[in-house]
Amino acid sequence: MPTDVRLENVTKSYGPQTVLGNLNLDVREGELVALLGASGCGKTTALRIIAGFLTPEEGRVLIGGQDYTYKTPNQRNTSMVFQSYALFPHMSVRENVAFGLKMHKVEKSQIKPMVDEILSAVRLEELGERYPRQLSGGQQQRVALARALVMRPDVLLLDEPLSNLDAKLRHEMRVEIRLLQERYGLTTIFVTHDQEEALTMSDRIMVMNKGVICQSGTPKEVFERPRSRFVADFTAVRNFMRGDFLEDKFVTRSGTEIRAGDSSRAPGTSCLGIRPGKIALNPPDSDAYANVFRGTVKIATFLGDKVEVLAVLPSGEEFILEVPTMAWDESRYEKGKEIVFGWKSEDMLYLTEEDASK
């Protein structure tokens, strides 16, 4: 049955290299948590520790309040969906799904209905007799899910489950996984390097960097209020202005003055951030737009429904703007022409340069 998972001060290193340094993680019952981070940040290691494939050097793994740190994988009721799916090639879809039940000595008469039910939940009733190599990537992914779900695990672990699918299928599977997770109320930990996946699927996001969690919160919190430059960078903020508060202004390294209040506003800030989509072209003359700049167009790239503009200020400071294609007049804003842009104070992000938790 679904239950909560905790990692307490977990440390893991491979030789001299520390992969997880004192990791703490708390997943509530029935919650879908995304571990978001670049490759090598330790997110997969954390998952493998929960599954029992790795033993931490220090710290504890608690599943449903019980200490599982030194239990072997087959003593835990955690189900893992692997990035490569790891379907058993010599077994049919049915045999793959029934494998775990057989290992747990479920009565033969009960296995069939359980397999039938889960296969219909992942819409594979028709393909039970096929072998993995006869299935498409999306179908293999569903078999892997069915094989994990049929165990009614305490915790469902997903290791980059969508990375082997093409873009269209990935969108479909996101929704499908989320629906199945809600249907069975599964406590789920989901590892990904894709911010969009993390934002769209999870109840909570934990952004990992260098073996620690640098920020966690709901997708909205993390997206709207990233605390560090690293997290902001990971959630598609592209304009960063490094500098310091000077009395009531923020002065960037190139000398651009930005109205950002004084340092009491956000202590420790050493960098400001603004999303390209939050910069307005020709902003209205109002108090809301405290920062308005005059620059020149360096390059404009057409992206379909929007145009990405690289603008440069006389000081050399560069900004990336996203302008709706409709608002973009090509003849007026060709390369080298003047451009006026600005943003609302409330959209500005106050960031620390390094991860606060370190």
Partner: protein, 269 residues
């Protein structure tokens, strides 16, 4: 005439030549085994199956073949078992000196078999004198001698199959509640079934055809097929030898057919 077609035809010539080079001896041997004359001469004067009958009428050939099969089967079972376990060990995790260990398993191949045979014989004779026991010749030492020369093949073939499989399969089995033994028996071994088959066939043939090791270790009054063949050609020039060879070819073909039925040949080599 287009250039591409000429190129295609030309590029096939080496392939055909190599095929002829490989297959011609086999075809000739089979052909010669049916020559009727007492000396092998071209062109044949007529055909008969006299030499096959001659073969089966000679008790020493029959008993030598029996011993050869017996030794080859046991040596195959032992080396394939050890080979499988070794491959599991080698692929369990990357450890320091793994490459060295892996390569050292091939060491027996680098020493001429006759030298290994003499070494085993001489050493065990001396030790036997110390402990006042006759250690050689014995069936046990004969088989173990064969295992020494067959085991590198078994390890090499099974290990290459083993290193090609996804380690995650084993983890998936453990994750679904299998213990380590179940994970190997139910998930990992089925993936290398064809490698094990290939190793089995290869090992059997290597053992069955071995002359040098057998020559040193076989007991008095016993003989094995390669030894008997050698003895026969020293004194006779009739096609009996071709008949023996033909039977060996047929035996190997049968083995391959059986394996093909079981796992599919294209998966084996």
């Amino acid at each position: 005439m287009n250039k591409q077609r000429i190129q295609r035809v030309l590029s096939r010539i080496p392939v055909v030549l190599v095929m002829i080079y490989i297959l011609l001896p086999v075809v000739l041997v089979v052909w010669m085994s049916f020559f009727s004359s007492k000396m092998i001469i071209f062109p044949p004067k007529g055909y008969s199956i006299e030499w096959y009958l001659n073969l089966f009428s000679k008790r020493n050939f029959v008993s030598a073949a029996q011993l050869s099969v017996q030794v080859a089967v046991i040596a195959t079972i032992i080396s394939v078992t050890i080979g499988t376990l070794t491959s599991i060990g080698l692929n369990q995790r990357r450890f320091r000196g793994r490459e060295l260990v892996q390569t050292s398993f091939l060491a027996p191949l680098t020493i001429p078999t006759i030298v290994t045979g003499i070494a085993i014989y001489a050493t065990l004779t001396t030790i036997g004198q110390w402990v006042n026991q006759k250690l050689v010749p014995s069936m046990f030492v004969l088989i173990m001698g064969h295992v020494i020369i067959t085991i590198p093949w078994a390890i090499r073939l099974i290990n290459s199959g083993m290193s090609g499989i996804d380690r995650r399969l084993e983890e998936a089995a453990l994750n679904l509640g299998a213990n380590r033994v179940q994970a190997y028996l139910l998930v990992v071994l089925p993936q290398i079934k064809s490698s094990i088959m290939a190793a089995g066939i290869f090992t059997f043939i290597v053992s069955f055809n071995n002359l040098e090791m057998s020559l040193m270790l076989v007991g008095p009054g016993q003989s094995m097929l390669p030894i008997e063949t050698l003895n026969y050609v020293l004194w006779n020039m009739d096609p009996t030898i071709a008949a023996i060879s033909t039977l060996q070819v047929v035996m190997v073909l049968l083995l391959l057919l059986i394996v093909n039925k079981l796992v599919g040949l294209s998966n084996v080599f």
